[in-house]
């Protein structure tokens, strides 16, 4: 069974990606792998592990919702949480499971804004080794 990797962070971007990814998986008979990636502060200092833990708890809550949605749609699914920047986490997971594609959401930021704010979609298209499907968060 091929897999579709979905970047999910609980935002409207993540929800758009999840909806599209689950629909595709259903049609293709694929499994979805819901990925939540986060690496706290490269700019160092302070109690980094605590932030990682707090984010991890948040991630568990959020991905549980996503998993419930996939179940509802009757799609086979798994959740992965990685201590890595989202784009890199997606690429690594996709490689590891030889995924068919990666699905992420975007707000349609301009390239400059995307670069400054660290848009995952923006970063992903630069480093991904396999097809990337980018879904606009503001509708169809």
């Amino acid at each position: 069974m091929a897999e579709i990797v979905i970047g999910y962070d609980g935002s409207d971007c993540g929800r758009a990606a999840l909806a599209e990814g689950v629909t595709l998986a259903k049609e293709l008979g694929d499994k979805v792998r819901i990925v939540f990636g986060f690496a706290p502060g490269g700019a160092g200092g302070g109690e980094v592990p605590t932030q990682r833990e707090a984010v991890h708890e948040l991630g568990e809550r959020i991905t549980a919702e996503a998993a419930a949605k996939a179940s509802e749609a009757g799609v086979d699914h798994e959740v992965e949480m990685l201590n890595e920047h989202a784009a890199h986490a997606l690429v690594d997971v996709a490689r590891e499971h030889d995924a068919r594609m990666i699905v992420v959401g975007t707000h349609g930021e301009s390239p400059l804004r995307g670069a400054i704010l660290g848009s995952t979609a923006h970063r992903l298209v630069q480093i991904a080794e396999r097809p990337v499907l980018i879904v606009h968060a503001d509708g169809d």
């Binding site: 690496a39 160092g44 200092g45 302070g46 932030q51 707090a54 201590n83 890199h88």
Partner: protein, 513 residues
């Protein structure tokens, strides 16, 4: 509550990345350590004040060396505490484990207070140097104009931390290279001009006594006052200790980076201090203590390279601001998760994944404090940085003691354990305690401070120690509100931990309440 740290995913698994990744992790830690200390900004803020101390004479470079000693000793404490558990946080968590919740809470308070106080100096330098960059001198000397830029600066920096924008490691390396290069160019050109007769008449030839901590006209009091300022210039290398993810050998790499960065820093400080003093003489540095690098840039480097020096101070200050807001927000996040302060501080922004309430609170408090102190103090930099020295000495000192206490049962297993995990951190703590007490006495007279005094004490003592006393009062209340936290038991290193493998946490999970 069960901790989530046991389920960190495959991406952080050590050992899978090979040597190259390890080297990069090490370099990144080193860069982050040095960049967080912000040498250009630290020099801009303190060099003039160290030279200006009564009875300092020509010994400012010696102060740079002596201040380095307690910091190096405390670096050993960071190294060993980090090794005990790379996942256990920093000073607040360590002191809480080793010395109990009361001391731990005060440590957390000291970290937060120090970070708020330093924001005033950062914002002030940002304001002043921004106007100096455009040679708008009247604005640079206007409290109102500097206050406006300072407020904007803090707001923007807080927003950056709140949204979670981060410079990549590569960008940080470039910025730091420019910083080190500019400071080196400044030092070399200054020295060439001194010895080729291109320097002002007040210039001095470097003497061996510049580097000697003995024979100061003002004796040990002048030296200790200098060291209290000197402690500030090395502050921040602990940032590198905490960046674990990118090093494959996370139990040892970051600690080593902290030690290496301290050595690199002492070189920068000694060389720049000596060359600045050789070029301009002590009096010019004293009379321009508030904008010492901006004032020297023109005569030494000439136009337009002097602007590079100002820009370097500004980028350095912005790096320092970020590595002030973020770690403070994480410290209060940690304190909230341990159940020792209101739980709102433990909130994480659902989209940005940053500590939202903690970050905004830090920004707001800093803004109020900065505007207050810039407009009230006769000399923001002088009084604040001396005050900061007390707070830094307090929590670095406690970290040193915490290390010796945490490992106390392991110390007699080998000479190495005894010296490195016991004697060295303890000595660091003892030295900082001595500096704290001695400097408090020296700074007590109202006329010793730039801004006079409050409650019959010098302003630096009030800012430095007064704010710690406020913390002690709040601690009494906290005991009633958060009884569970204050019933925590002390912890020690697991038996034979230091003889065990080089990796692997001593404690399996962090256990916030």
């Amino acid at each position: 509550m069960e901790s989530a740290s046991a389920t960190v995913g495959a991406g952080s698994e050590p050992g899978g990345k090979g040597l190259k990744a390890d080297a990069i992790g090490y370099l990144t830690n080193l860069v982050i350590s040095v960049a967080s200390v912000a040498p250009a900004y630290s020099l801009a803020a303190t060099l003039g004040f160290i030279v200006a101390i009564d009875g300092m004479g020509v010994h400012a470079p010696a102060v740079m060396v002596v201040s380095f000693i307690p910091m190096l000793l405390i670096a050993a404490a960071y190294y060993y505490m980090n090794r005990a558990d790379p996942d256990c946080g920093t000073s607040f968590t360590w002191v809480t484990r080793a010395m109990g919740p009361q001391m731990g809470w005060l440590t957390g308070w000291a970290i937060v207070v120090a970070d708020v106080v330093v924001m005033a100096t950062l914002a002030y330098i940002a304001g002043k140097y921004t106007f100096l960059l455009f040679e708008w001198d009247s604005a640079a000397h206007s409290l109102l104009a500097v206050s406006i830029v300072a407020a904007i600066w803090i707001a923007v920096m807080t927003w950056i931390c709140y949204v979670g924008i981060e410079l990549s490691a590569a960008t940080q390396r470039i910025l730091l290279s420019v910083e080190v290069f500019t400071l080196a160019a400044f030092a070399i050109v200054a020295l060439v001009k001194v010895y080729s007769g291109g320097a002002p008449a007040e210039s001095l030839h470097i003497g061996l006594d510049w580097f000697s901590p003995f024979g100061l006209p003002g004796g040990s009091s002048a030296l200790i006052d200098g060291v209290l300022l000197g402690v500030f210039i090395y502050w921040g290398w602990d940032s590198g200790v905490c960046v674990n993810e990118e090093s494959t050998d996370s139990a040892r790499g970051p600690g080593k980076a902290a030690v290496m960065s301290t050595i690199l820093l002492v070189l920068i400080y000694v060389v720049v201090a000596a060359s600045a003093q050789a070029f301009a003489g002590t009096e010019a540095l004293t009379s321009h203590k508030n904008d010492v690098l901006a004032n020297l840039g023109g005569p030494v480097l000439g136009s337009p390279l002097d602007k590079l020096l100002i820009i370097t101070v500004l980028t350095s200050a912005s790096a320092s601001t970020q590595t002030t807001i973020l770690p403070t927000a994480r410290t209060t996040l940690s304190m909230a998760r341990f159940g020792s302060i209101p739980s709102a501080f433990g909130k994480i922004h659902p989209r940005h994944l940053t500590p939202s309430v903690s970050t905004l609170a830090m920004g707001a408090v800093s803004l109020v404090w900065s505007l207050f102190i810039i407009n009230v103090s006769q000399n923001v930099l002088g009084d604040s940085i001396t005050g900061l020295g007390f707070q830094i000495a307090f929590y670095y000192g406690l970290t040193g003691f915490a290390c010796a206490i945490y490992y106390r049962r392991e110390l007699f297993r080998s000479a190495r354990n005894f010296v490195m995990a016991g004697v060295v951190p303890f000595l660091g703590g003892a030295m900082l305690t001595y500096i704290f007490v001695k400097a408090f006495i020296d700074n007590a007279p109202v006329d010793s401070a730039y801004s006079g005094g409050v409650f019959g004490l010098g302003a630096a003592d009030v800012i430095g120690v007064g704010l710690l006393v406020v913390g002690a009062v709040l601690l009494v209340f906290a005991n009633f509100i958060y009884p569970r936290f204050f019933r925590r038991k002390l912890e020690t290193a697991p038996p034979h931990f230091l003889e065990g493998g080089p990796t692997g946490p001593a404690v399996e999970t962090v256990t916030p309440e």
